[in-house]
Amino acid sequence: MSPEKKRTSLLIKGGHLVDPAARIDAPMDVLLKDGRVAEVALPNKIKGGADEKFDARGLIVAPGFIDLHVHLREPGQTHKETLATGTSAAAAGGFTSVCTMPNTVPVVDSVEWIEWLRQSERGAVVNVFAIAAATRSSKGATLTDFRALQTVGAIAVTDDGKPILDDNIMREALVLGGELNFPVVQHAEDTRMTENCSMHAGARSFRLGLRGMTAAAEASIVERDVQLAMHIPNARLHVAHLSTADALKSVRRGKRGKARVTFEVTPHHFTLADEDMRDYDSNYKMNPPLRSVSDREAILAALADGTVDAIATDHAPHAAHEKEVEFERAAFGITGLETALALAITRLYREKRIPLARIVELFTAGPARCFDLRGRGSLVRGSVADVTVFDAKKKWTFDVGKSLSKSRNTPFDGWQLTGKVVATIVGGKIVYSG
């Protein structure tokens, strides 16, 4: 960075601060200095100058958003996405931190790959936290070296996309994770029940002649994992992209039973249902699949009542040639970083009347708690200077042609949405302004 562009302090003035962890929902100015939050005060009360000012009048100022679940495809699948393009899309979506999944080529299951991901040459423009594989090559047989992976900065372990089916391996993972205070993230799907399936099992899949994944294939694994977590001291289970009402019941039971169980839901699961898919459009194909309307309603209720810990995108970019094929052969997954906030504001805030502070919590303090991201998820003095500034009233149309991701696989192209990111600030520096 050239010296004349070096800034050490930034004053965000005139905005409305929503910081659920600090119980603040009021007009406030925020001063960022040397990569930290230096001061939060009532409007015009911050004395002294700042190298730069940001006019946030009419805008919401929030702690930087954290996405617990993204696929940035490095190492190995750079035709889909890179850390540089994926984090640019993250910045455009207001995310200052993303947690990358290890199902890459090769699988991120070693200290070397965690360190490689953290190198500045990768060109990441937001914070990247690596989630390591829970078993070697994610084959589900032998645990990776949790302690070593944690030491070099991995924040959790998972075999995302290839669930840990073996009861003993899952137990071992939760035991070791418990000893290290290390979350084990599970993509809950009993793959023995979902062979050749490409959408949710229901009236729609029957009509379309597609084999369906039953809700039970998710719920049975979640139930087992919750049971394990309830009986293993200090075990930390994080359920990725929970999508069914039945799995939700297990998680609720676990939480009531004081198990350390957290979970995330995705914007597409609270927005769409299986019946929205038309004409075999593979941009509606992801795993877990879009579920029934009643599953979606159960998730919306859990978002409103405070049960859900985090909104995560499961941003899963794929090239056109991997999607424009027979539906059953198309890759699972959709992009999501640039539409997450707008879908949350449009669906949850405007339609379902969920308070804005709750929505901000699901993007900030909630995910920070799931993976213990210290100093993030709130803007109390001394926190990391990661800030997301957005306009909660701005109407706009999502044009996938303008996406900063390398891929275009989204069902939301052309959607009219409300709520737009205006600035994304990472470590006190503006990395995106819209």
């Binding site: 009509r207 002649g209 597609l210 075999y280 424009e324 094929v325 027979e326 539906f327």
Partner: protein, 303 residues
């Protein structure tokens, strides 16, 4: 991109009037009196899956109408080398296809083709989804035997879950108010099947399905598609196989249909397959005029 005019991707979204128009036109088609409506046209038959009846019937229909036909099968073509569905489609388009007839093991494959290639696409059976030309020729056969759909009741017995024939038949017959009873064990006839179309009912009892029925459609148990599902064939035979004693429970003039291939001794006995009430070969025969109408419609000559 919207599918090209004249495409036939499924019965579900076809209007009743359009179906009647097709059936009426098919009645005017006579395979023994060639009408060169497709003279000089190129009809490409893309068969990604085995087929006897449908393929030979489409090919005959096209040739009788004066078209050139080109058959591409996954075995012995670039498909075998890993060429994608769309790349094969673009290639066929570049060669000069006027109509693409496609049979594919994956549901929705004809949709993918039709959304990207501006040539009429005819679905000749896609995975478990639809088999529109079969439903049309079955409707044609029913009308030849029963004169009208009014007041009819049909029992479809067998492997509904894996059957694109059943799905297309339900969509078509439902549009004309036919009472449809699906019969078989839960693994093959899930309760959710009743959501397919209005007027569809599910029963586990063959007597219940046959009582008062005008049309009995039998389906093969598609053992190759079971995908881990275990079916006790002996029990299936005991409960659902069509034999003369069972057929007596249906109306006296009930007709027996089967889209083929038939497996004697499994879903039906030889007495049924060769019996006076069977219309199985008539269905095959009617496939040609029906597909002539479908091809004429594809190139805008169904007038």
């Amino acid at each position: 991109m919207n599918p090209a005019r004249g495409s036939l991707l499924g019965i579900e979204h076809l209007e009743a009037a359009e179906i009647l128009k097709l059936l009426k036109f098919a009645r005017r088609m006579n395979p023994d009196k060639p009408r060169p409506l497709l003279k000089g046209k190129r009809v490409f038959l893309l068969f990604y899956e085995a087929s006897t009846r449908t393929r030979s019937s489409f090919e005959t229909a096209a040739k009788v109408m004066g078209a050139h036909t080109v058959l591409i099968q996954s075995f012995g073509s670039s498909i075998e080398k890993g060429e994608s569905l769309l790349d094969t489609g673009y290639t066929v388009r570049a060669v000069g296809a006027d109509v693409i007839v496609i049979r594919h093991p994956n549901a929705g494959a004809p949709y993918v083709m039709a959304q990207h290639i501006d040539v009429p696409v005819i679905n000749a059976g896609d995975g478990l989804h639809e088999h529109p030309s079969q439903a049309l020729l079955d409707a044609y056969t029913i009308l030849r035997n029963k004169k009208t759909f009014k007041g009819l009741q049909i029992a479809i017995v067998g492997d509904i879950f894996h059957s694109r024939v059943a799905r297309s038949a339900c969509h078509l017959l439902s549009k004309f108010g036919v009472k449809i009873i699906l019969c078989g064990p839960p693994e093959l006839v899930p309760d959710i099947a009743t959501t397919l179309a209005p007027g569809v009912r599910v029963t586990r009892h063959i007597e219940d399905a046959l009582r008062g029925t005008d049309v009995v459609m039998l389906l093969r148990v598609q053992t190759e598609r079971l995908s881990g599902l275990k079916i006790d064939l002996a029990e299936y035979i005991a409960r659902y196989q069509m034999n003369p004693a069972r057929l007596k429970m249906a109306k006296r003039d009930a007709m027996v249909m089967h889209p083929g291939p038939i497996i004697r001794g499994l879903e039906l006995t030889s007495e049924i397959a060769d019996g006076a009430q069977a219309r199985i070969l008539e269905e095959v025969h009617n496939g040609v005029p029906t597909r002539m109408a479908i091809l004429a419609r594809a190139i805008g000559r169904m007038r």
